[in-house]
């Protein structure tokens, strides 16, 4: 498939919708967790207010060029992930630039933002930022193991790396979903998802009690606003990715919202129940059950 200029507005529209969904989820989820804690919780539009406030900050400081580039990398990473993601199956309008890459592209785009963020945080000169990054990187190296195993299992199962084709293979009812056809890989993948969603027990990266807020300690105002924008895009992109790989994708926006919300809630619920792991603990944990599940998933193909 070749590049069509009309793709641009449609992808941007898709992006806006995803962003809206993300903001919505970020309003709803704290509300749910608050209710779980018998609180009333925030207004569901609170993320919007916070975002506007970030952009309304009048002064700012800069520690250098990389300080700018950190949030830029971060948002670019998130936005690109959406732009390369087929959002709605069968829709030309919302398949975005999925033809330009496949699963591998997606996996490596995930690091684009991470690396940039890490560099930006490093430039700020704050030791806590570096500590947070070092923790995050260490954790991600093992959280990736079950994910990669699961993805390889799925790719081998469907004989393709293309996300669109994997979604296509899952059409025709719930019994065709990877969740059903390859349950072990799905389990491994979902456990891996826990590690990357910044929820307890894997949120020692931010750990406010010991290293204020981790990498973005020095970020504020517009910088933080951009990073917060990304927080509404990036997790949704990841969730949509999991939806496409394991849960049959979506044929319309309603399904997409429903499925992504449910997947998003999975780490949230786990986080509500389990306390935080130290880095070495979470590494050891990932090397046990999730990795074994991943190996099993590959072995069963």
């Amino acid at each position: 498939m070749n590049f069509d200029p009309m793709k641009i507005p449609w992808s941007l529209l898709g992006l806006v919708i995803v962003f809206t969904i993300g903001m919505f989820i970020r309003g709803i989820v704290p509300k749910i967790t608050a209710r779980a804690g018998m609180r009333i919780g925030i207004r569901f539009y609170q993320p919007w207010i916070d975002l506007i406030k970030h952009f309304s900050i009048q002064t700012s400081i800069t520690h250098g060029v990389m300080f700018y580039l950190g949030p830029v990398f971060r948002l670019t990473g998130g936005v690109s992930m959406i732009l390369f993601m087929p959002l709605i199956y069968g829709s030309w309008y919302f398949s975005n630039f999925a033809f330009a890459g496949d699963m591998v592209l997606f996996l490596y785009m995930m690091f684009f933002g991470t690396l940039g963020m890490a560099l930006g945080a490093g430039e700020s000169g704050h030791p806590y930022s570096a500590i947070g990054v070092s923790r995050g990187l260490a954790q991600v190296t093992v959280a990736e193991i079950p994910l990669v195993l699961a993805l390889l299992s799925v790719a081998a199962q469907h004989n393709t790396l293309s996300i669109t084709e994997i979604v296509a293979a899952q059409q025709g009812g719930i019994s065709h979903w990877t969740m059903v056809t390859n349950p072990v890989a799905t389990m491994a993948g979902m456990l891996a998802l826990l590690g990357s969603m910044m929820n307890s027990p894997f949120n020692v990266v931010l750990a406010p009690q010991e290293i204020p807020v981790g990498p973005p300690t020095e970020y504020h105002g517009t910088f933080l606003g951009i990073m917060n924008t990304n927080r509404s895009i990036f997790p949704v992109a990841k969730v949509v990715f999991f939806m496409n790989i394991f849960f049959g994708g979506a044929t319309n926006w309603g399904i997409l919202i429903l499925k992504s919300f449910i997947i998003y809630m999975w780490p949230v619920f786990v986080g509500l129940v389990f306390p935080r792991f130290r880095v070495d603990q979470s590494i050891r944990w990932f090397l046990k059950v999730p990795m074994l599940l991943g190996i099993l998933a590959v072995a069963l193909i």
């Binding site: 690109s80 260490a138 190296t141």
Partner: protein, 1045 residues
């Protein structure tokens, strides 16, 4: 022609007349002696040149008209002339070298020298076996007399042992001679040869006694304690004489008499010789006394020659060439080393560091060592090559293996000696006292080694002249070493350019060769551009660099295995001298050298199997080896993998590379390692993947690659030194390449080639710039840096792009490698190895972030507040490579499509399909241009917006951070850099346990233990040595008795 009897006549006559000339002064006597020796040498040289120009044929010269043994009969043939010339020249130079001692001891000592030389000549020339006995006794007595030049106790008891031993030996010889005479009725050697049948029937004991006596003269293991003591005890000039002249003569006569004994003698010789070679080198491992080391080495070399003589039936007409090259090298190098040991005086190996104070002599020290171990361009290289080829071709695998093992042992102690001498501090040592008398022989023999190497190579048809001609250029560079560095740099650049111009027509159209030539020689140009940053003279750097690049060039250019091996060895030498330049690189350089040696020996064996299988040494011999293919391919792969530092063979790399300076690090890591990749590609291309053994090898290789990547990357994450980090990272990256190649798929090879090229680019940038930063900051410890982005923005940018490429993050070209690996994993179902590889890629983030953060980001330290940007000469090549990265990222098809076309003939299945800029495999697609456009547009939009929104942002300084309401006290305490991944180490640190290092340590300890166990044999007691001799005679007889009866 001058009658060779004059050799004897001059020797004897001068020796006697010296007593009459006593009044004319010692100096005069000395010159008379030298002149006489020269005259003797002239005679044999005269004969030799006549033989060489084919003017005459061998002649028999009888004297006094009678018949042997009543008169002396001389045979003069080409070999006799050559050996006689060698022996006499050895005497000339030894005499010259012994000037001071001879003057001190007076004319009688000179007479002894003359008589000894005369005796040795007699041994060689005589045609009569009894005369042989006489001449042998003469030279033995003369040798004892020479030993008596010193009244040192050690020398005395060594001489005593020697006399006793040679007494017994000559007794045995005499006994054998009389038995022989009894059964054949003649003493003439030529007649004896013609009566070989009779001898075999009735003269078994006789020939056994003669053979064993002559063998004992050559000091076989273990009946050689007296020989080692003699080498150790005698003055170094005399030792040189013994090691070169006496040994040469003794070996010659052994060679001459050996056929008399028939097959059984050959077998005895082979067994005794090769075991002597292996064991005396093993024994030598635990010694530090240089004379003793040299003694063991001499004995070992002679053992090797004896063994070769014993194996002559298998080697065919190559035997003489092999023997002459090995003997010639031994003769020149050993004499040179003994002379040098006389100059150094202190017998401890470590004390040779003082020799560095006279660089010329030290250079020759290196020449001798490398020549002894059979490195090119010295004659022994060709000898070793032919030897192993010949043995393996006739299925003598164990013999070949034993010889290689012995060479390895020899390499261990010789290289240890050399590298310690090269690197130990020598401030506290005195400059060695050098006189014209001591230096001239060394220099002459050293240069002659080169000439001999050249001369030998003219007889080797497989070696083209372009493998030799550049050596002259390098020699020239060596002579111009006094020039300032930038001039030499320009000259070197010109040399490389000229070589490229020469090479281009050879590789045109061959993408494989273009890729590697580009990396090797393009890398050479970049490295030399970087070299302009050097100030001062930088002695020794340029010849060795050029040697390495020449080796690499020959590697690419090689049309047959010999050239390949030649280039490989040249490259090893050159690179060793580059790596050793680091400050603390002593142990690492040594282990590099030893692993290289082991690797090249393994390769040699593999090549020999290939040659045996196909009958030719063309590169096509590597295809489908039939003889023991699994072993052959494994050995070759192991050999090449010593350079790619794959798991198990990687332990030399971190230290060797980690201690190197910027541009050397670049050469060593970005360029040199690719030589191993080149070799692996050749081998795997020949092996194919259809045979069952091939699949097993590939399976193991794939796992090695994957685990190398994992261990390399984890190791990198735990380093504190940026250079060590990069070195470990190189191990990991090479693991990727090996993994890709081991898959034997189109995509895997594409990935491997892609990695090879991109690794060269991004690692090149990292090595140059991180090295440059370390140079500016004065340390490679990352935690001592920090915040350097403010001081070195250009370096930072290049490093940033390099690590993004390395990490495989889109849209840069590194991503294509990752993508290909995924596709390959799927197509071959290599999931487990694949996951290890992919996770290694993720772990790469750990050290990459650490690298860039701890060095460039974070807090600027006080002492680095004023550091300057990295030298522009380092930035230029880095930015050239950066441009290449961007170009390849924009147009990845430029590289991948072309490589794909090259690979299609070998791997027609599963190729990438290019549609415009979209590449697709069976599994997926990518279009790097669209990816880049999308990411670029997003990036630009966000960035511009951010810049606009923060146009009034206040620029702040390093301590303007929120520090919990406090103020940071010092940058050092505010920079998180040391033990960056402490938690990670806690969790997976067990994988960084140096198990492999421990394995090699234990192996080396075991070897040394074995070696010192063998010391028990050499008690130093004359009687035990006599026991050994007697027991040797009896045991060998009993062992071979079956064959005789």
């Amino acid at each position: 022609m001058i009658n060779p009897i004059y050799i004897v006549a001059i020797g004897l006559g001068t020796a006697f007349s010296l007593g009459l000339l006593r009044k004319l002064g010692k100096e005069f006597s000395f010159w008379v002696t030298i002149f006489a020796l020269g005259a003797m040498a002239f005679i044999s040289g005269h004969w030799l040149s006549a033989f060489l120009s084919h003017q005459i044929t061998s002649t028999v010269i009888t004297t006094a008209g009678g018949k042997a043994p009543f008169v002396i009969v001389f045979n003069m043939g080409m070999t006799e002339a050559l050996f006689s010339f060698m022996v006499t020249m050895g005497a000339v130079f030894s005499g010259f070298y012994l000037h001071d001692r001879l003057i001190e001891s007076g004319p009688s000592a000179m007479a002894v020298l003359l008589a000894g030389t005369m005796g040795l000549n007699g041994i060689i020339l005589t045609g009569d076996i009894f005369n042989l006995f006489v001449f042998m006794e003469i030279s033995a007595i003369a040798t004892a007399g020479l030993v008596l030049l010193v009244s040192d106790f050690k020398a005395l008891q060594a001489g005593f042992k020697f006399m006793l031993a040679s007494g017994i030996i000559s007794g045995l010889l005499l006994l054998g001679i009389i038995f022989l005479y009894n059964s054949t009725g003649t003493l003439n050697i030529s007649e004896l040869h013609s009566k070989a049948g009779v001898i075999l029937k009735s003269g078994g004991v006789a020939t056994y006694l003669i053979t064993i006596a002559l063998l004992l003269e050559l000091k076989p293991f273990p009946a050689n304690g007296w020989g080692v003591d003699l080498y150790e005890g005698a003055p170094s000039g005399v030792s040189a004489f013994i090691a070169s002249s006496s040994a040469t003569a003794a070996f010659f006569v052994f060679l001459k008499v050996l056929p008399l004994g028939g097959d059984i003698s050959l077998r005895i010789a082979a067994a005794a010789g090769i075991s002597t070679f292996v064991f005396s080198n093993l024994m030598a491992l635990s010694y530090k006394n240089t004379s003793r080391l040299l003694g063991y080495s001499s004995i070992g070399q002679l053992g090797l020659l004896v063994g070769i003589a014993g194996l002559s039936k298998h080697l065919g007409d190559k035997t003489l060439m092999i023997i002459l090259t090995l003997l010639g090298t031994h003769y020149l190098a050993k004499a040179g080393l003994f002379w040098l040991s006389g100059i150094v005086k202190n017998p401890n190996t470590d004390e040779w560091r003082s020799l560095r104070k006279s660089p010329v002599l030290f250079a020759f020290f290196g020449v001798f060592i490398f020549a002894l171990l059979g490195f090119p361009p010295f004659p022994s290289f060709f000898g070793k090559w032919e030897l192993i080829m010949g043995l393996v071709a006739t299925k003598m695998y164990w013999w070949a293996g034993a010889i290689l093992l012995g060479t390895m042992f020899e390499g261990i102690y010789l290289f240890r000696w050399f590298s310690r001498a090269l690197k130990l501090q020598n401030n506290d040592t005195a400059t060695p006292a050098v006189t014209i008398y001591s230096i001239l022989p060394v220099v002459f023999f050293g240069f002659f080694l080169f000439y001999a190497g050249y001369y030998t190579s003219t007889f080797v048809p497989a070696l083209r002249v372009m493998c030799l001609a550049p050596l002259l250029f390098i020699l020239l560079l060596g002579l111009l070493d006094f020039l300032p560095a930038f001039l030499k740099n320009i000259i070197s650049l010109a040399g490389v350019t000229a070589y490229i111009v020469y090479l281009w027509p050879h590789i045109q159209g061959n993408t494989f060769k273009i890729v590697f030539a580009g990396i090797f020689l393009g890398g050479a140009i970049l490295a030399l551009i970087a070299g302009f940053y050097r100030r001062g003279k930088h002695m020794g750097f340029y010849p060795m660099t050029m040697l390495m690049f020449l080796g690499l060039g020959i590697l690419v250019d090689a049309s047959n295995l010999l050239e390949l091996f030649y280039g490989w060895e040249l490259m090893t030498i050159g690179s060793y001298f580059l790596l050793i330049r680091g400050e603390r690189s002593l142990p690492h350089g040594l282990s590099y050298l030893l692993f290289s040696l082991g690797g090249s020996l393994a390769m040699l064996f593999g090549f020999a199997l290939a040659h045996a299988s196909s009958g030719s040494v063309d590169l096509s011999a590597l295809n489908h080896i039939r003889i023991m293919p699994a072993l052959a391919y494994s050995l070759m792969l192991a050999g090449f993998m010593t350079k790619t530092a794959s798991l198990g063979l990687h332990i030399w790399l971190p230290g060797a590379h980690g201690e190197a300076v910027a541009d050397i690090h670049f050469m060593a890591s970005a360029i040199l390692l690719k030589a191993g990749v080149f070799g692996i590609i050749l081998v795997l291309g020949g092996m194919g993947n259809t045979q069952p053994y091939a699949q097993k090898i590939l399976f193991v290789l794939g796992w090695i690659g994957a685990l190398t990547a994992l261990i390399g990357n984890i190791g990198a994450a735990f380093q504190e030194s940026a250079k060590y980090l990069l070195a470990w990272s190189s191990i990991g990256q090479l693991g990727y390449i090996v993994f890709g190649l081991a898959s034997m798929t189109h995509l895997g090879w594409l990935a491997a080639y892609g990695y090879t090229i991109t690794h060269f680019l991004y690692k090149g940038i990292l090595f140059l710039l991180i090295g440059g930063v370390a140079f500016r900051v004065g340390t490679a410890d990352m935690y001592k840096m920090g915040g350097l982005i403010k001081r070195m923005p250009f370096s930072f940018f290049a490093v940033l792009i390099a690590i993004i490429t390395l990490a495989g993050i889109p849209p840069l070209v590194g991503f294509t490698g990752k993508w290909l690996v995924y596709n390959m994993i799927l197509s071959k179902h290599l999931f487990y190895q694949g996951v290890v590889i992919i996770i290694s890629g993720v772990i790469a983030f750990l050290y990459l972030f650490r690298l860039i953060h701890v060095i460039f980001l974070g807090q600027l330290k006080d002492r680095n507040r004023k550091v300057k940007e990295v030298y522009v000469w380092l930035l230029i090549p880095a930015y050239l490579m950066l441009t290449a990265i961007f170009a390849l990222s924009m147009f990845p098809d430029m590289m991948l499509a072309r490589l794909g076309r090259m690979l299609t003939p070998s791997f027609p299945e599963g190729a990438l399909v290019w549609d415009g800029f979209t590449a697709s495999s069976r599994y997926g697609t990518f279009n790097l241009q669209i990816i880049m456009a999308v990411i670029g547009a997003t990036f630009a939009a966000v960035f511009l917006w951010l810049v606009f929104a923060n146009r009034k942002a206040q620029k702040v300084k390093q301590f303007n951070i929120f520090y919990s309401g406090e103020a940071p006290s010092r940058p050092e305490l505010t920079h998180y850099g040391y033990n960056f991944f402490a938690h990670y180490r806690k969790a997976v640190g067990f994988m960084a346990t140096p198990l492999v290092t421990r394995f090699w340590d234990q192996l080396s300890q075991g070897l040394h233990g074995l070696s010192s166990y063998g010391r028990a044999i050499y008690t130093g007691n004359a009687q035990s040595y006599l026991y050994h001799i007697v027991a040797f005679v009896v045991v060998v007889y009993l062992l071979s008795a079956g064959g005789i009866s």
